[in-house]
């Protein structure tokens, strides 16, 4: 993930000679000037409208504002946790159904996954928010957010887990069967634990995407970070500052999760390398390669 040792970059060019180094220095100066120019233009634009004035930013030194936004962040984390747990459970079931040998079950799950991946979450939220109450079905606010998100995220979790299951060398399941385990046991004791371990980075990446999705709580007026930010901004009239602060909080929380995913991807656990290195899979599964690049 880090810029300095992207796999490709290291062999795209050789160690530059004197002329190459000069060019790189010139390029660095030009791009530094360009980036500085863009940043300066932005700041100048903000400054000319008085958006950088100290009194526009000092309110954010007040602890009360951070407490207020903190409650929102807790709401975000709460919603994300609920959706993650329900979505992962439902998604795992879907993945199991998808890889099962029962034809109709596999097709049913595949159909659900395809549909859920191609319908906007917002449409489901609007259905929950405006549609179903017309029919007398009304959920608490949290679930108006959590149900659509779970339905949508379960499909993504299912695809990730399925990729993990398929990436596992077939020998694992065959060995388990030859030990006399039943197919349920094979899945539960041998295949799933390894599959989930193999796709942990993807699962964490999906967790980030899920955290971002909880910002849709803004629409159903669920107390989460973005909603709190909006209420705060209509109260203090500091739109730019408030939304920037909220954006930066999202960036910090999700960025640390992404960083974790990247670290896991770069340094796979010992057992994972043992598994993926020496056992060539017939036909070569692409998802396995993808998780190790």
């Amino acid at each position: 993930m880090s810029t300095d040792n992207t796999n490709a970059a290291s062999y795209l060019y050789e160690v530059p000679g004197p002329r190459g180094r000069r060019r790189i220095i010139i390029g660095s100066i030009i791009s530094a000037l360009a980036i500085a120019g863009v940043v300066f233009a932005g700041l100048w634009q903000f400054g000319s409208r008085g958006q950088l004035d100290a009194d526009k930013w000092t309110p954010f030194l007040d602890l009360a504002i951070w407490k207020y936004l903190g409650v929102g962040l807790l709401g975000t984390l709460q919603a994300a946790a609920i959706v993650a747990i329900l979505g992962a459970a439902f998604g795992t079931l879907l993945a199991l159904g998808r890889v099962s040998k029962i034809r109709w079950l596999s097709w049913l799950c595949a159909g659900y996954i395809e549909i859920a991946r191609t319908v906007p979450v917002l449409l489901l939220i609007y259905l929950m928010l405006f549609g179903l109450p017309q029919l007398g079905i009304n959920f608490p606010v949290l679930w108006k957010l959590a149900i659509p998100l779970t339905l949508a995220n379960a499909a993504v979790f299912a695809e990730i887990v399925r990729a993990g299951i398929l990436s596992l060398p077939r020998g694992q399941a065959e060995a388990a069967f030859s030990l006399g385990l039943r197919s349920g046991q094979v899945m539960r004791l041998v295949v799933l634990p390894q599959a989930v371990r193999n796709v942990t980075p993807s699962l964490i990446t999906q967790l980030v995407s899920l955290m971002k999705d909880t910002s849709l709580g803004f629409i159903v007026a669920f107390t989460e970070l973005l909603y709190r930010g909006q209420v705060l901004s209509s109260f203090n009239h500091l739109l730019i500052q408030t939304y920037l602060v909220v954006t930066i909080i999202y960036l910090l929380v999700n960025g640390s999760l992404s960083g974790l995913a990247a670290r896991l991807q770069k340094k796979p656990g010992r057992r994972r390398t043992d598994l993926t290195l020496p056992l060539p899979t017939p036909g070569g599964s692409s998802s396995q390669k993808a998780s190790n690049v």
Binding site: T6, I115, V119, L122, L123, Y126, S215, L239
Partner: protein, 214 residues
């Protein structure tokens, strides 16, 4: 069914807006995403750093927060554009980060020998990127890019929240009048599924056409 025929004009208008957003933001994010990837593998450290930060920023920040920032907050700083272009620009820069990630994973699939051979032939860095690396890595990531484009199509719905009258917003308004949520929202869902299906099939066709058999 007559809900749909009575409102055919409005619905077609809304579908047109959605498609416009998908196409413009899609093409824009493909171009911008490839440029970001090029910056990310360039030998210029500051460009690589900037491209990395760009990708990290947009992958970790919710699209809705960016839309609200661009539509409601930035006018306070004198940065104001009509609603639809604003939404399209935000979608473009947001999805470009995902395109960049996909293309970068494609660059990792280009074998070292290809790049070494291009250097041995005396191609400059820019030539080997333009003629050898980027074409091959794009071919390797047609399917992932298709998925990014499908996600983009889904994300255009978020523009409804800031007031763009596209499909989601329109069907919601129609439903508030007719109060037949199941039919109306299912209809809209089908349209989105068709858009996603079209993108998926196109990606599949392109992939079959350009795939490199190794």
């Amino acid at each position: 069914m007559d809900i749909f025929t009575e409102n055919a004009g409005l619905l077609l208008d809304a579908i047109g807006t959605t498609l416009l957003m998908v196409v413009v933001a899609g093409v824009g994010s493909l171009i911008l995403g490839v440029l970001v990837t090029v910056a990310r593998v360039s030998p210029i450290p500051i460009l690589r750093r900037a491209a990395f930060l760009y990708v990290q920023f947009f992958i970790n920040v919710p699209l809705l927060a960016l839309l609200l920032l661009a539509v409601f907050a930035l006018p306070d700083a004198g940065l104001i554009l009509p609603l639809l272009p604003t939404a399209i620009i935000v979608l473009t820069v947001y999805e470009a980060a995902y395109v960049a990630e996909a293309v970068r994973s494609g660059i990792n699939t280009v074998s070292v020998g290809q790049i070494e051979a291009s250097r041995a032939l005396g191609l400059t860095l820019w030539q080997s990127l333009r003629l050898i690396v980027i074409p091959q890595s794009l071919r390797a990531v047609v399917q992932p890019l298709g998925n990014v484009m499908i996600a983009l199509a889904m994300n255009t719905a978020l523009a409804a929240v800031v007031g763009v009258v596209e499909l989601t917003s329109r069907v919601n308004k129609i439903n508030l009048v007719y109060a037949q949520p199941i039919e109306i929202f299912t209809g809209a869902g089908l349209v989105y599924m068709l858009i996603a299906l079209a993108i998926g099939l196109t990606a599949g066709r392109i992939e079959r056409k350009v795939a490199i058999l190794r």
